[in-house]
C-alpha cells in the first residue's frame, strides 16, 4: 500500500505549511483519495492547487510530497 502511491502525482487541496500537515488528492485504485501530506523540504510552503509528486510515505495516510510544477507525466 505504501509503495503503490509513491511516484504518483497529486494536487494540494489544503496548504502545506511548516509544522502543519496539508492535504493532497492522489489518484489511486481508479479513484481519488485524500492523504495528509508533508513537504519533503520541511521549511517549504506549498500552496493550494499546486501539483506535487509523492516522494515518500510516512506510514498510514500521510505522504511526503514535493512541488512539481515543471513535471508533466503521462497518465
Amino acid at each position: 500500500m505504501s509503495l503503490e502511491i509513491v511516484g504518483k502525482l497529486g494536487r494540494v487541496t489544503a496548504d502545506i505549511t511548516p509544522g502543519h500537515l496539508g492535504e493532497v488528492l492522489i489518484e489511486v485504485r481508479q479513484g481519488t483519495e485524500r492523504f495528509l501530506a508533508r513537504a519533503a523540504d520541511r521549511e517549504a510552503t506549498i500552496s493550494k492547487h499546486t501539483q506535487v509528486l509523492v516522494v515518500g510515505s510516512l506510514g498510514g495516510r500521510t505522504v511526503e510530497v514535493s512541488p512539481t510544477d515543471s513535471m508533466r507525466l503521462p497518465r
Binding site: M1, A14, D15, H20, L21, E23, R29, G31, E33, R34, L36, G60, R61
Partner: protein, 531 residues
Amino acid sequence: MTPEILIPITAVVVVVVLFLVVFRLSWRVAEPDEALIISGLRASGRPDGSGESMGFGIVTGRGTLILPGVTKVRTLSLEAHESEIIVPCVSQQKIRVDLRGIVVYKIGDDYRSIANAARRFLDRPAAELETKVQNVLVGHLRAIAGSITVEEMISDQDKFTQQVRDRCTQEMESFGLVIDSFQIQSITSPSAYIENLAVPHQAQVEQNARIARANADREAVAQEQTAAAQIAESMRNTEIKKAGFQADIDRATKESEQQGPLAEATSRQAVVEQETHVAELQAQQKEQQLQVDVRKPADAEAYRQITLAAAARDVRIRQAEAEAQEVRLHAEAAAAQTRVQAEAQAAAVRVQAEAQADATRMNGRAEGDAIRARGLADGDAIKAQAVAEAAGIELRAAALNTNQEAVIAQQIAQNLPEIVRAAASPFEHIGNFTVLDGAAGVTGAMAEIIQQAGTLAGMARKAFVPAMLGSGNGSGHADVKPADLDEAAEAPLKPVARAAADTKSGNGAEPAKATDGKEPAKVTRERPATR
C-alpha cells in the same frame, strides 16, 4: 431405458447439482462499497496478504471462495456516513458560541484502514460508530474553538478546517476513518455577540439606506413638485390660451353682431353726408343768388352815391379854392398898390422934410410956419389915420385869424407910453440925482430906459405899420405925410424924453427944451384920436 443406466446418470446430476450448490454457498463476492472480512481457516493466506498480521483476510471488489463452517465471512460497509455535531463551546475571547457542523466520513479504502475499522466496528451497529465519531469530534472542536476567535470562525473556514485536520486526523486514522468533509453549518451566540458584531455595519448600512431613501424621497418630492409646477404651468398656459381664444370668439361674435347696425349706420351716414352736401350746395346757390340780387345792386348804388358825393365835394372844394384864390389876388393887388403909393409918398415926404429942415435950420423964423404947417398936416394925417384905422380894424378883424400876434403887438404899442412912464416913475420923485459916473453914467441910464422902450416900440411898429397902411389904403387918403407917420410912431417916446430931461434940471439941453413946449399938446391931442 434400463435402471442400471439411469442410476449413474442421476447420481452424476445430483453430484453436479450438489457441487454447484456448495460452490454457490462457498463463493462470496464483495460489493464495491463493502469489504469482506474473512477469518478462519487460511484467512491469512490470501494472495494480497494484507491482513496477515492479525490473521484475517480482507477482500474488496471481487469474489472469494470460503469454506462454510471453517471460514467466517463478514462484510464491512465502506459507505459514507454523515453525522451532525452540535458543540457548545467558548471562543478565544471567552464568548459562548454554539457550533453546528456536519461531518462526512467513511472507512478508508486501503487495507490498513479497513483492518483498523474491522477490529473496532465490525458487526457493531452504525449508531455506535457515529457516537464514537461525535464524541471524538466534539472534544476536538471545543478545543479548536477555544483557540480561535469568533470572527475567525465565521470568516476563516480554511483555518478551522486546518485545525480540525491537524487534531483529528491521527485519531480518525486509528479508527480507520477518513473525513471526507467537515462543514460548520451555523455559529450562534446566546449573548447576541454575533448579532452585535453586525450592528455597526448594520447601522451603517441602515444609515446609508435611510440616507439613500431620504435622498430618493427628496429627489422624488422635488421631481414631483417640479412636475406639479410644470403641470400647473401648462394648465395655466392652457387656461390662458383658452381665455384668449374665448375672447377672440367673443370679439368675433360681437363684431359679427355689430356688422349689421354698423353697416346700417354707415349707409345712414352716407345718406346724411349726401344730404348735407345738397344743403351746402343749396346754401351756396342761395348765396350766389343773393350776391346777384342784392349785393351787386347795392354795391352799384353805393358806388354811384360815393362817386356823386365825391364829385359834389370836389366841386365845392374847387369853388372854395377859386374864391380863396380870388380873395388872395385881390388882397395882393391892393397891398401892392398901397405899398407903391406909400413908398412914393414916403419919398416925397422925405424930400420935403429935408427941404423944410434945411429951410428951418437956415431960417429960424421960418420955424413957426413950418411947425404950423406941420401941425395942419398932422391934423389931416390924424384924420386920415382915423379913417384908415377904422378900415384897418375891419381888415384886422378879418385877418385876425391869420395874424393874431400882430394885433397883440399893436395893443402893446398903443399902451407903450403908460408902460414906459411906469418904468420911468422911479425917477419922478428924485430931487437930486447924483451920478458918480459923470455925464456918461446919466446917459447910460437914460439909454437903458430908452432902449427898453425902443425895443417895445420896434415890436409895436412892426404890428402897427401894416395896420396904418391898411387903414390908409382903405380910407383913400393919399396925402398923409410920412413925417407925420414917423411922428405918430415916435410920439409915445416924447414924454419919456421929457421926463429924462426934467431930471437933469440944470443941465437941460436946448433941443429938449425946444420940443418941450409943443409935444405935450400934441400928445394930449393925439390920445383921444387913438382911443
